[in-house]
Amino acid sequence: MPRVAAGFPARDPAPGVIVECRAVSKRFGSRLAVDAVDLEVPPGLCFGLLGPNGAGKTTTLKMIYGVARPTSGSVRVFGIDVAREPRKVRARLGVTLQENSFLERLSPVQNLTVFGRYHLLPPAEIEARSDELLDFLELRSHADLPVTALSGGFKRRLAIALSLMNRPELLILDEPTTGLDPAVRLSLWQRVRELRSEGTTVLLTTHYMEEAERLCDRLVILAEGRVVADGAPRQLIRDVLAPEALELEVAPEDERRVVGDLDGVQRLRSGRRLMLYVRDAAALLETIRHRDDGPARDPGSVIVRPTNLEDVFLALTGTRIEAGEGGAAAVDAGAAA
């Protein structure tokens, strides 16, 4: 099947930066949701905005597309001041919100049509563009059913299709794959890569570190409204932690006895799960086994793996994942990838 061009087929040479936030802050009452954030999204990249819940990701996105006003600082998109000319900026970008919003009783095609009108597209263009997007996001089979009859995966693809109606130069995705099954997620990643390869700049937030690691060329990690890291995923992993991770099941009270105070070993704890970061995890495991014949000997509890973005995220955001909330399982999944 010929792949339909979903963005602009050929783009003018890069105008420098697509999104430029300068010391942007946003205050809600006494709470500082975003605190002097500097952000630069270069053209043609997939740029990730990570951070725990409440870190200020969505607020930052809202300031970028001009629905939230910065308390101080400036936001320029395509070189335009968003606060002054929100219409001009939003005509050239697309946003997929965290929560889907459709005319549920109408079909995907009718939803695309209504959305095309929001952009004042002429009817012929709306028809042509809807048709392209039905193929691009594989919605054709459900094009004329009411949205209420669609599964979560179809709905999410429709939400993304809506935000592509105006052939945006910048696509903003707020948690695009939350709650989707792995097959749908993989297919969406592929669509994002295709858009990027056609020159669309993508700015996304996600809670899935695997997604960020595999999809994003560059990312920023926010914690409590501040930028705590900025760089390419691999580079961040290199900069923040040692390359290998050793995971053990060790209760906090046994930690000293089992691991001692090894010099230069970075540690993270999530409930009973202890993660140690070193250059050579296998060698460290041997050292520990010499000291103790407890947890380190239980093969079921030990994992040696490369350090991943999840480790970096936990190290930088200081998130304490309590035992029993699946935190450790998520790390295992990361290791398997």
Binding site: K26, F28, T59, K62, Y65, V67, A68, R69, P86, R87, K88, R90, A91, G94, V95, L97, E99, S101, L103, E104, R105, L106, Q110, T113, V114, F115, R117, Y118, H119, L120, L162, S163, N166
Partner: protein, 255 residues
């Protein structure tokens, strides 16, 4: 920021697209309501009344019910429906990811409420004209009063909806505001014959009274200078509330 008419129309067309799918379900109950009043009160109760305001009781009742139909059509749109779009369906949030601005959303919604008010008021007018209760052609002057009534109640309703924090409060709006208006706005009996002194002045504050008077004057084919006051009241109240609503809309839709 100014309203962009084309974007407001896009908002209006969103509602129209949905309405085209559901109009049969929506139209019928609203359409029958004034008709039921007309039959029950107009013909039923009316048969015990020899005349009112110089006509048969059912003919007295008919013009007021045209204004009521317009009021109801517009009110539902800017109350329950707008509230759901704002808080539950996130419709406005999604519109604001496009070049649409809060002012366009407000203008589109008011325009849509006027449209629905006109559909109800208009179809009721057609029915009573068909059974000979609207003296033509004079009563045709009532037709432009229908969207004007829609505008007034769109402005009142949207200003209320944007302020309230929970959907349950609409029962106050309907039971303690619209229903009393319905009962005491010259529709069932001439207020002037029942009220005196200062109460007549108080009654002038009732929003529905003015559209009812305008429609009734059209049916009677009688112009009086007081109708200018009725039109002025509608213009000023609608205008003030729309300015107020525009301010709240910006606060509600933007952070």
């Amino acid at each position: 920021m100014r309203v962009s008419p084309r974007h407001a129309v896009a908002v209006w067309r969103r509602n129209l697209a949905l309405y085209q799918r559901t109009w049969k379900l929506n139209l019928l109950p609203n359409f029958f309501e004034p008709l039921l009043y007309l039959v029950s009160i107009g013909i039923g109760v009316g048969s015990y009344i020899s005349e009112m305001g110089g006509t048969s009781y059912v003919a007295f009742l008919a013009p007021g019910l045209v204004a009521v139909a317009a009021m109801n059509g517009a009110s539902f749109e800017v109350t329950y429906n707008a509230f759901v779009r704002l808080h539950f369906e996130k419709t406005y949030e999604s519109m604001l990811t496009t070049p649409i601005q809060p002012e366009d959303v407000l203008a589109g919604e008011i325009l849509w409420a006027i449209t629905r008010g006109s559909i109800y008021g208009g179809s009721f007018f057609v029915v009573i004209a068909a059974v000979g209760l609207a003296p033509l052609p004079a009563a045709l002057w009532a037709i432009p009063m229908i969207p004007i009534t829609g505008l007034l109640f769109a402005a009142i309703g949207i200003a209320f909806s944007l302020r309230i924090p929970s959907i349950e409060l609409f029962s106050f709006y309907f039971t303690l505001f619209l229903t009393p208006l319905f009962l005491f706005s010259d529709i069932f009996f001439p207020l002037e014959e029942r009220l005196s002194g200062v109460w007549l002045w108080v009654a002038e504050g009732l929003p529905l009274l003015h559209p009812v008077r305008l429609v009734r004057a059209a049916f009677a084919g009688e112009f009086s200078p007081r109708l200018l006051w009725d039109l002025g009241y509608i213009a000023v109240v609608s205008g003030v509330l729309m300015v107020l609503a525009a301010r709240i809309t910006r606060r509600r839709l933007m952070d």
